[in-house]
């Protein structure tokens, strides 16, 4: 299925098959996509043309395992902010290929995942600066519970000649309980001198002092952990412009992590 967006737009849709979205020159708007349906493999292709500005929020609503491939071509002065929220207790394998093809291209990709028992979340992210003055950024957040399996390989590439480009990434993983597996591999392939690049990575259990502090205000251990988890998921909700929908998904997220278990 193909869709083309022009001027100003705002849309919420379900995606149950491969989808190509094109954002024409100077198109500005936001899209919310819910991944649904029986298909276990889907691809999403994004074409952000010159000076387009797009916010794209994707939520995995699949009741089964999913392999999702996302490709994006970003043109001159285009700005694509894209994120995937995955709270499902189902395996999910994400492949992302982002191409910053012309000067001024900007791609900001976020992923927030909940990994529960025996459920594997695996991602391979790659954003490449092909020309000068481009900007790639990745934010990877995950909360991994007992028996969860999380694998994140995030690569930022700046090729020869793409000077004055930037490639940044951060990966934050909160681990709970025992027997979880967590593999994170931040990679920067830099083949140019005049660039800015950075990566930040943290993997670990919640701080005992923080938990005590939250407990001392009446939150049970489950609720305290839920609240800390929400802190990993909520930033991605900023991609949703519809305040009502944002509040609804925020509440669903809070429920999912046990904040309402009184």
């Amino acid at each position: 299925m193909e869709r083309v967006y022009e001027n100003r737009f705002a849309q919420t849709m379900a995606m149950d098959q491969d989808l190509n979205l094109t954002f024409n020159e100077r198109a500005t708007g936001s899209i919310v996509i819910f991944l649904e349906g029986p298909s276990k493999e889907m691809s999403l292709h994004l074409e952000a043309k010159s000076s387009s500005h797009v916010k794209l929020f994707i939520q995995n609503s699949m009741a089964h395992d999913l392999q999702l491939k996302v490709t994006a071509n970003i043109a001159h002065d285009a700005n694509l902010e894209c994120g995937l929220l995955d709270l499902q207790n189902q395996p999910c394998h994400l492949e992302l290929q982002g191409h910053l093809n012309e000067q001024g291209a900007n791609m900001d990709f976020s992923i927030a995942q909940l990994c529960l028992c025996d459920c594997q979340k695996k991602s391979n992210l790659d954003i490449t600066s092909h020309v000068s003055h481009t900007y790639g950024n990745m934010h990877n957040f995950a909360v991994v519970f007992d028996g969860g399996k999380y694998e994140m390989v995030a690569a930022g590439r700046i090729v020869k000649g793409a000077h004055a480009s930037e490639s940044h990434q951060e990966t934050r993983v909160l681990t709970m309980g025992n027997n979880h597996q967590c593999v994170t591999l931040p990679i920067l392939y830099i083949d140019e001198d005049d660039v800015k690049a950075s990566h930040a990575l943290s993997v670990g259990q919640p701080d005992a002092e923080q938990l005590y502090y939250l407990n001392s205000r009446g939150l049970t251990m489950r609720q305290a952990i839920g609240l800390l988890s929400v802190g990993y998921f909520k930033p991605i909700l900023e991609l949703i412009e519809d305040e009502e929908l944002k509040a609804k998904i925020a509440q669903e997220t809070e429920e999912r992590v046990g904040m309402y278990e009184y």
Binding site: Q210, Y212, G218, L219, L227, V230, G231
Partner: protein
């Protein structure tokens, strides 16, 4: 009517006994000042009452309105009506003040607090403490100055409405104006809820603002003398030396952490 009763409390940290038999009873509408030299057990007492897992109660009882506090978890103690305004509140990145406080209020009620009621209460508390309006949207204590953290503790107290409030050096980090603001907020809350208070402070002016009803001096893990507000002014003018002489006790000296020697690091110079 709320009563917190502590009897013969002994508390250890890592097998070292800090409290050696504390007796203290706090009723509604009472404000107890807890004073004493640093490192003699004041903060330990409050932390043990709240249930900080670092502290082990080896002997004695704590009851709140007859309920055994020691058998309760930390969160249960909070929901039972105890509140500890901490000396060093934790920073919690990623969790906004509003999410945190709304959750903390919700666990106290059968039905979640309505958004309107929550925002109204939070705005009122923020105004009362003269804090910046963006407090609700900031991450919990992250990037706060020392004074902001302490005021934020009081914001929490105002919203959670405990029956017994414990404040551990809540005045440190507050300038003269902020001290007055915080004291006024506590005072107003007492007027409204009649909560009992235990306040650890070295600052007589702050204790004056709070209209202290009882004062206790804790030395070497025991309350050696109790009295009224006059005790605070005696300490303020004479220090603690007279207590050591009069009551034949020796204040424990605060142990300064020793620097850890990491042994010799080697670096090879390459020509």
């Amino acid at each position: 009517m709320s009563t917190l009763e502590i009897k013969d409390l002994h508390v250890s940290v890592e097998d070292k006994e800090i409290l050696r038999g504390v007796d203290l009873t706090i009723h509604d509408d009472e404000v107890h000042a807890l004073m004493g030299p640093n490192g003699n057990g004041k903060s330990t007492l409050l932390a043990a009452i709240m249930g900080n897992p670092k502290y082990t109660v080896t002997q004695g009882t704590i009851t709140l309105d007859g309920q055994d506090v020691l058998s309760l978890s930390v969160d249960e103690r909070s929901r039972a009506g105890l509140f500890l305004g901490m000396q060093y509140p934790s920073e919690v990145p990623g969790v906004t003040n509003s999410d945190f406080l709304r959750s903390a209020m919700n666990v106290r009620q059968e039905r979640p607090v309505s958004l309107f009621k929550f925002i109204k209460g939070m705005d009122h508390a923020i105004q009362q403490l003269e804090m910046k309006p963006d407090l609700a949207h900031r991450f919990l204590n992250v990037g706060f100055s020392g004074g902001e953290k302490k005021r934020n503790e009081i914001v929490q107290m105002l919203l959670l409405k405990p029956s017994i409030t414990m404040l551990d050096e809540i005045d440190s980090g507050l300038d003269v104006d902020a001290l007055r603001i915080v004291a006024n907020a506590i005072h107003a809350e007492r007027e409204e809820t009649h909560m009992g208070c235990v306040v650890v402070s070295h600052y007589a002016r702050f204790l004056d603002y709070l209209n202290v009803t009882h004062a206790h001096i804790l030395v070497d893990g025991k309350i050696v003398v109790s009295g009224g507000p006059e005790l605070i002014h005696k300490v303020d003018t004479q220090g603690y030396d007279w207590i050591e002489k009069e009551f034949h006790v020796k204040a424990r000296k605060e142990e300064k952490p020793q620097p850890v020697l990491l042994e010799t690091c080697g670096a090879k110079k390459v020509e």
